[in-house]
């Protein structure tokens, strides 16, 4: 069936006992785009992905991928990473991919070397996975998802465990795949990660979709007077910079688990106060390197739903 949608999810609901993990979720992922599935941890992203891939039974709702709703047939042409990829540790990376390939339809065979090369693991393909670092296992997971050149790539938190260079590599790979026409569905709790690669974004909170649209449109909508501005911090002594920023009125230091050390200026005046102060070389505190307008934060705060 010809369709312009790679993924169509309607009314998807999944409960675990009394807890509703995903509630009447609707998603429309256009074919050939990079779709960011954004939400804080525990918002139901992974549960929704598992339902889409048939790993979890949905209590209600309908999922179709490229117009196909049969739970087995809709997976033909889909490659996926769900959370941290796991492997047969006593086998080599290549052997792991060969085992996985055996489960694919014949028309998707014969691309192991290409997949390994894309993620930069071809030279380590014959090493046992038990000797791989977490980042290498993550890249092997992406290679496994790329087997058979899928039309749709589903990546659930694909940069988990990667160092900054690895994260940049993954983003670059996603962009290349998108240029080749592949639809990429990427979930993350990091705004910056989604913003860096996605054309369209769906934001999910407490199992419900609260916003969906093109990233540029959502950015425009969030560019009001009260729009928070996130600034990236840099310098020789980052701890001193963080301490310095924490003393500024209207500026808060972002948690350390963010991909870039940063701070948030709640209003434009606060940023104006922060800029010259941080820029003073006498304190050795560094400088504001970049200010970027991000998706508006309140969207990700459940209390403000």
């Amino acid at each position: 069936m010809a369709t312009d949608l790679a993924i169509s999810v309607t009314g998807l609901t999944r409960r675990f006992g009394a807890r509703v993990a995903v509630q009447s979720l609707d998603l429309s992922v256009p074919a050939g785009t990079v779709y960011g599935f954004l939400g804080p941890n525990g918002s139901g992203k992974t549960t929704a992905i598992r339902c889409m891939l048939g790993l979890l039974r949905a209590d209600a709702g309908k999922v179709s991928i490229f117009g196909e709703s049969d739970p087995v047939r809709r997976l033909d042409g889909v490659g996926a990473i769900i959370e941290t990829p796991r492997f047969y540790a006593w086998l080599s990376g290549r052997a792991n991919l060969e085992i996985c390939e055996a489960y694919l339809p014949e028309h998707r065979h014969g691309q192991i070397d290409e997949a390994l090369e894309r993620v930069g693991l071809l030279s380590r393909a014959h090493d046992k996975v038990s000797g791989y670092s977490l980042g290498m296992q993550q890249r092997l997971g992406i290679a496994r998802a790329l087997l058979g050149r899928p039309r749709l790539l589903v990546l659930d938190e694909p940069t988990n465990g990667l160092d900054p260079q690895g994260m940049r590599d993954v983003r670059e790979l996603i962009r290349r795949l998108a240029q080749e026409g592949m639809t990429v569905f990427i979930s993350s709790h990091l705004l910056s990660e989604i913003q860096a690669v996605a054309d369209t974004v769906g934001i999910v909170l407490k199992g419900r979709r609260v916003a969906e649209g093109r990233v540029s449109e959502l950015l425009r909508a969030s560019a009001g007077d009260s729009g928070a501005v996130e600034i990236e911090l840099g310098g020789p002594d980052l701890n001193a910079i963080r301490r310095e920023v924490a003393t500024l009125d209207g500026v808060s230091v972002l948690p350390r688990d963010r991909p870039h050390p940063g701070a948030r200026a709640q209003r434009a005046p606060a940023r104006e106060r922060a800029q010259p102060r941080l820029g003073q070389p006498r304190r050795g505190a560094g400088r504001l390197e970049r200010a970027r307008r991000e998706l508006r934060e309140p969207v990700l705060e459940p209390d403000r739903e």
Binding site: V78, E83, Y103
Partner: protein, 275 residues
Amino acid sequence: MATTNPIGGVFWRMVAAELRKLLSRPSGVVMLVISALLPILVFGLAKLVEGGGVNMNANGQPVASLFSLDGPKLLGYMLTARNFFVLPLFLVMVSAQLVAEERANFTLRALLALPNARWRVLLAKYTALLTLAAISIVGSLGVGGPLCFLFVDGPQTLVAWQGVALGWVASLASDAGLIALTLLISTFSSSVAGVLVGVILGLMADLAIRGLLQIAGMLKLFPTDQLAALMPGRALAAWEGYADGWDPWAFLGLGLLTLGCLAVATFRFQREDVL
């Protein structure tokens, strides 16, 4: 979409992939090595006893004088050794590794996110395990058979050889039942140890029930012989018929056990939530 044969080329590739996993792990390799070594051990012990190398008496007579060895009989001892405890335990362990352990370490998740019906995945795993059991039997027979045929003297008839050969074939059927039972229990547990305990407790419960049935039979409460023969523990020992006489009820029980366990395991596997 073109209709594909559910047991076509991809299915056999899946079986080969599962077999590769089994044969690349120490447990699978050790199982096959034991399969090949057990007949040699039995052969050595039998020759030792026959030659008077064991200084033991039974009923006041040397054991060696009571022990007459011939090829089919020795091959039967080898079969008993093969099916006694150690190798069935290995078979349960490797079966549990292929489902319960893969669920626990999340490798099953990657397989089930691929475009295959779950029943095909389970059937591929079952077929691979059955193939491993067949390799084990062929290995034991391949080592033990020539030893018995070439190096043991004694009265031999074609009928005697046929009987014990059928016993070896029947032991593959018993393995098929044991694997099916293990896969069923693997749908309830995510640890190899849990599955092992489950199988052992299940067979102990079976033994207790058969004991109660025997008592009921002795008290002539109701006819219990056929019912006891249908019980899993007795069914799994159907191969012993080569020595005691074949019991069709035991084979019926084995068939029911195998198909029943596979059906329930498939039903549960199909509906399982994979985290």
